[in-house]
Amino acid sequence: MKKLNIGGYLNILAALLGLVGTILTIVSGTMSVDNKLTNMTMIVAAGFIGVVLCALSVYTPTRFGNFDLVGSVSIWGAIALYCYTFGAAVGQRIMLIAGLFSYNSGNTIGWNVFYVSVGAWACLLVGCVCLIASGFFRSVKETA
């Protein structure tokens, strides 16, 4: 096994952030029956598959070297899936957020859902940033 380089560490970080983001998405979608996310299975599946792809993007360079095709496609796929998880959840929270910042600012449960959702989105988006950055860097240290 080759030793990990900066790109690999970024991918590990992205996987962890994606995992946390997806779990927080599950929490935000189940903490109140009135704020359940529709299509939850798809949203969560996308998040977890994204995490798996991140893991793959860590593993494959150790086998095939830096900038390998499988690892690269995994990075791109993980980015797309994280974005899907983020976007699908945002789309269902728009009206909640609009209410919280206007006519329904006293919605305590809604605020809790909002805070957890923001945490999830932050994790997913930062995870994407890590993946983008890792794309530019080597994932493993290569021996001469």
Binding site: T38, F67, R138
Partner: protein, 1084 residues
């Protein structure tokens, strides 16, 4: 090495571009799902409603704006529209402001008077509600109205601060760059020193005020102290000498949606006179004292939507004049100025009784935040999408005796010496036993003028009593001809208010001693001039609802007219009229408060042979009236636990506070948990037709009666799924139905004081009169009129109708065909934060105001949908609070306002059954059942008894977890603000609003396949919704060519451009990555 670097670069760039592409795709999807709302706020047009205008299929010929609002080329004249709004807002305030006191002829002030304005609200005026009926856009301030002659809209944008901590902001985001308008002001010279003092203080955080402010549970009116005035300018008193002709002090109490005042809810250290938010603080009282220093002529203006406790001002000989001015909207200060300078003689009457202590209302014993003691563990239903708090309730133990009905009836019984009325129960201001003079400051309907009037009932009223031989529907009216003579020295107009009293038997059905039956208003009468005004009274409204009446058919409860002497009177308010009746009854004048004149009363002995006791047991539609809301009464579930106030024993039944009710009855608990309707899954529904091809299109339904056979053909064309979409998504964007040729359209908006859409953001930009974005006045916002009590206080049906007509005209320019307004709940007490959106405590005044408004609006194709049907008696825990009451109370007070408006009997003709064509339900329950889900309320009373036909929408996202129960009740659709893109981005299956259902089912197009009842209800709901569209100006734009064409607003172009650009670049970079990788391999 170079190849590796290139691979990394291309891979990284591809990753970046994949991210940009993905984000633009998901956010694009979010934007599309909310396109309707985005268009409203950005003034863009993402979907264009397109129809071709041809000779055979003409467009825009059914409802048109009056010619005076059009340019020569047929386009809209924004200047004329705004000028008309200014004029109407001015006249509304001039007729609605109520002069309460005018000693020593303090008012009017002569033109050229040197006047000092005091109180921070004289400088930072309260014009509207911060949430609900806002005063939007540029305005005319009191200072401008008193001293200027031209608007300064460029520098007077109204601001609003939300309730519960929402941040402040300008009501219209863009500064005004449009026209300015000349007006005739009062011509006073104002004390600039004090204006500067208040301006300086208003710049500080402590005394920042906005034109639209909310009520507050802990209230601080934000009035600076004298020392703070001195801190701003230590020598301000020296200005008084020059501006001492009069001192005008403004006191304000705001109102708004979502928050109430609460008993004892006052900020610390302000020394409220009564420790309550509607009493004056020390700083406010000091401002009045300062006015006395300034001038011998002290005038107090009360800006509020509820009773302010001003008893001490009434009794203060140094306060010369008091006038209530409501929250007068953007231009209403001109009307206030008209009165102050004498250009107009005041003619308003109070919308609510003004009491010495608002806490003395028996309703106040049970107001605020009360929760069942065993809510936790018993109430399993959640708080809904808006997360309301479960388990809230209010026992309305005051029964019938709400507002002036309580004070005047108790007064009557005090004088009569009956019912232990003079006991100490419920006394606040009285010294010893209960005393009207101490408890009441100004009565309901009361108002002064600059002149005086004599009222003379001319001969016998004309009684018209008949019964429809087929249906038994009654028609019973009495028309009073009242000769009104101006006996003073100034020209003026006056309301003509007819009140009535039904015979009461102690221990029998509760009856108020006085109630308003109807009203009209004179024209302006010159001194000495007379006018005979006919006031037509519907005698149903003096009948009483007897819940225990045995109908003989197994049902109980109906309206009764007990035989006996009925008294009618014309008076300056309820108290005056009652005194006239008492005089006619020969009661002891020494015990009366005020004087009675028997000549202004009329007695009618109503025997069974004249009007049978059960004449009104059948409604005007011919439907048998019986109890429909038994579950409104707490005692229905848990007998004997609540005692309702009775005039038979004021002392023994005066309400206690029911603060800790415990749920023990399982039927009650099940109802509160929403277990109301059990979905059927195996009914035979084969005879219910859906998806037929009958060749009928929606546009052909214009002018078709509701029962026209063509409707069946049209409705049978709908697919079950289309009908479910129409029921589920009731606006603002309403789904199209391909089978009948309708397209998704943004149809609905707020509010009762103007259409909440900027002129340049019209939803009907294809109208020939549409005002383009380039119009200099394009960002004028039409929501400019006063809060509702101002309209009520005009007591002028013609003006109420004119307000509706004008809003109808606004709707043509803004392309909104259904209005979520006006507010039509009755004021249960002063502390309801939302009183500003509702007219009055009286159902007749409220009902007439809403009826006139709606009929006027409908003339221009605007369907007014009054709200909140019904029982929105408080904003505290408004989401699902249970108001508990007797059915008599529900029908004679709360529902009567809606009944008058919905029946609109005044406008019925032999060939036409007039009525309102819309409503919005309440967040609240009625007893244990959600209003949205109450079959008794929505079908039995509303549809069957009153004959309501139209759009009946829930409040926003309300009871989305009770989809089947709401459909079953007769409610016709949900308010789903923000949802659009139906059948695509928003579907029955994926809409998160409906994901949680109380019953174990999931919303889908198949949900009611096996429920015959719900399919029939769905067809009925679709019928009513679509019918309401056909009577609206939506029909202006529909014909056989109607379709939706997608447009490319900047936000759509932006995200699509990003998608395409990032997609192309991602593919390119990806390809470059692959190529460089291959080169790398070759190199290796």
């Amino acid at each position: 090495m170079l190849a590796k670097k290139k691979s990394g670069l291309w891979r990284g760039l591809t990753a970046l571009l994949v991210f940009v592409l993905s984000i633009s795709m998901v956010l694009g999807s979010v934007l599309e799902a909310n396109a309707g709302t985005i268009d409203t706020y950005l003034g863009t047009l993402s979907e264009e409603f397109v129809s071709e205008n041809t000779a055979d299929d003409p467009l825009y010929d059914k409802f048109t704006p009056p010619a005076e609002y059009l340019n020569a080329d047929g386009t809209g004249n924004s200047n004329a529209l705004i000028a008309a709004a200014i004029d109407l807002g001015r006249r509304e305030a001039a007729e609605g402001s109520v002069l309460l006191k005018n000693e020593n002829n303090a008012l009017p002030l002569s033109s050229g008077s040197n006047v000092t304005l005091l109180g921070i609200r004289s400088h930072k005026n309260l014009l509207g509600s911060s949430f609900g009926v806002k005063a939007q856009g540029p305005f005319i301030s009191l200072e401008q109205a008193l001293s200027q002659s031209k608007t300064d809209f460029a520098n007077t944008m109204s601001w609003s601060v939300g309730s519960r901590g929402a941040p402040p902001g300008a009501t219209v985001g863009t500064p005004w760059t449009g026209d300015e308008f000349e007006f005739e002001g009062a011509g006073f010279n104002l004390n600039q020193t004090m204006i500067d003092v208040y301006e300086n203080l208003s710049q500080t955080e402590k005394y920042t005020h906005y034109e639209n402010e909310p009520a507050a549970e802990v209230y601080d009116p934000g009035e600076p102290s004298i020392s703070e005035l001195e801190g701003a300018d230590s020598g301000f008193r020296s200005s008084f000498a020059q501006y001492g002709d009069a001192a005008i002090v403004v006191i304000a109490r705001p109102s708004s949606e979502s928050v109430d005042y609460l008993p004892g809810g006052v900020a610390d250290g302000l020394d409220f006179e009564h420790g309550e938010p509607f009493s004056l603080t020390k700083n406010e009282r000091d401002a009045i004292e300062l006015a006395k220093e300034c001038s011998d002529k002290v005038i107090v203006l009360i800006s509020s939507s509820a009773s302010v406790e001003i008893g001490s001002l009434k009794d203060d000989p140094d306060v010369d004049a008091i006038m209530w001015i409501g929250a007068p909207g953007c231009y209403g200060m001109l009307g206030v100025a008209d009165i102050l300078c004498g250009r107009v003689s005041p003619s308003g009457g109070l919308f609510d009784i003004f009491t010495a202590y608002n806490m003395s209302a028996p309703a106040m014993q049970n107001m605020g935040k009360m929760y069942y003691a065993n809510t936790e563990g018993t109430i399993t239903r959640s708080g809904g999408v808006l997360s309301f708090t479960p388990g809230a309730y209010a026992i309305e133990a005051e029964g019938m005796y709400v507002g002036y009905r309580y004070y005047e009836t108790r007064y009557y019984d005090c004088v009569a010496g009956t019912g232990k009325a003079d006991s100490t129960a419920g006394t606040y201001a009285s010294k010893g036993g209960w005393n009207y003079a101490d408890e009441v400051t100004y009565g309901f309907g009361y108002g002064l003028s600059y002149t005086t009037f004599d009222f003379d009932i001319q001969g016998e009223p004309k009684f018209e009593i008949s019964t429809d031989p087929e249906t038994g529907a009654p028609s019973a009216y009495a028309t009073f001809s009242v000769k009104v003579t101006n006996t003073g020295s100034a020209a003026g107009k006056t309301p003509v208010q007819i009140y009535g009293q039904a015979p009461y038997t102690p221990g029998g059905v509760e009856k108020p001693a006085i109630q308003l039956l109807n009203f009209e208003k004179t024209e302006v009468l010159a001194p000495g001039a007379s006018e005979t005004v006919d006031v037509k009274v519907d005698l149903q409204f003096i009948a009483s609802y007897d819940e225990n009446y045995d109908n003989g058919d197994g049902t109980k409860g109906t309206y009764i007219m007990d035989p006996g002497d009925y008294y009618f009177a014309v008076g300056n308010g309820a108290h005056d009229a009652l005194n006239h009746i008492m005089a006619a009854q020969g009661m002891d004048e020494t015990k009366m408060v005020g004087e009675g004149n028997a000549e202004q009363a009329y007695i009618k002995d109503i025997s069974e042979s004249f009007i049978s006791k059960t004449l009104f047991s059948v409604s005007k539609t011919g439907y048998k009236v019986s109890n429909q809301l038994p579950y409104a009464d707490w005692n229905y579930y848990q007998p004997g636990e609540v005692t309702y106030l009775s005039r038979n024993d004021w002392e023994g039944t005066y309400p206690k506070s029911y603060t800790d009710m415990t749920l023990t009855n399982q039927e009650l608990i099940d109802a509160l948990n929403g277990k109301i309707y059990d979905l059927k899954t195996d009914d035979d529904t084969s005879d219910i037709k859906w998806g037929q091809d009958n060749g009928v299109k929606f546009y052909e339904m214009f002018g078709k009666d509701y029962d026209d056979p063509m409707w069946d053909k049209l409705l049978d064309q709908l697919t079950l799924e289309e009908a479910m979409y129409i029921f589920t998504f009731g606006g603002p964007s309403i789904p199209g139905a391909e089978s009948i040729g309708t397209v998704e359209t943004y149809m609905t908006e707020n509010a009762g004081n103007g259409i909440a859409v900027n002129l340049n953001a019209s939803k009907d930009p294809g109208a020939p009169w549409a005002i383009p974005a380039s119009d200099p006045n394009g960002n004028w916002h039409p929501e400019v009129f006063a809060n509702a009590p101002m309209g009520a206080s005009t007591f002028n049906p013609e003006l109420m109708k004119e307000l509706g007509e004008f809003e109808g005209i606004e709707s043509l320019f803004t392309g909104i065909n259904i209005l979520w307004g006006p507010g039509l709940n009755t004021h249960r007490h002063a502390y309801n934060g939302r009183n500003g959106e509702y007219y009055s405590e009286d159902p007749v005044l409220s009902g007439v105001a809403a009826m006139e408004f709606a009929i006027g609006a409908l003339e221009y194709g605007l369907v007014a949908a009054p709200k909140h049907f019904a029982f929105n008696d408080q904003e505290s825990e408004r989401g699902g609070v249970s108001p508990w009451m007797t059915e008599q109370r529900a029908r004679e007070v709360e529902l009567r306002a809606y009944q008058i408006a919905f029946e609109a009997s005044k406008y019925d003709t032999a060939d036409f059954d007039a009525g309102m064509r819309g409503l919005m339900t309440s967040f609240s329950k009625i007893g244990a059942i959600e209003c949205t889900s109450s079959y008794g309320l929505m079908t039995e009373i509303l549809a069957n008894e009153w004959g309501f036909i139209g759009y009946a929408v829930t409040d926003i996202y309300d009871d989305t977890d009770l989809w089947t129960a709401v459909l079953n009740s007769g409610t016709t659709c949900y308010d789903t603000r923000g949802q659009s893109g139906f059948y695509k981005t928003t579907t029955l299956e994926n809409c998160s609003l409906f994901v949680n259902q109380v019953q174990p089912y999931t919303l889908s197009a198949k949900l009611i396949d096996g429920d015959r009842n719900l399919q029939l209800k769905l067809k009925d709901a679709a019928h009513k919704n679509i019918y309401s569209w056909t009577v609206s100006h939506l029909m202006n734009r529909y014909n056989s060519t109607t379709r939706i064409e997608t447009r490319l607003p900047w936000w759509r172009a932006l995200y699509k451009g990003i998608q395409i650009g990032s997609g192309v670049l991602a593919v390119t970079c990806g390809a470059m990555y692959v190529m460089s990788s291959m080169k790398k391999k070759e190199g290796n």
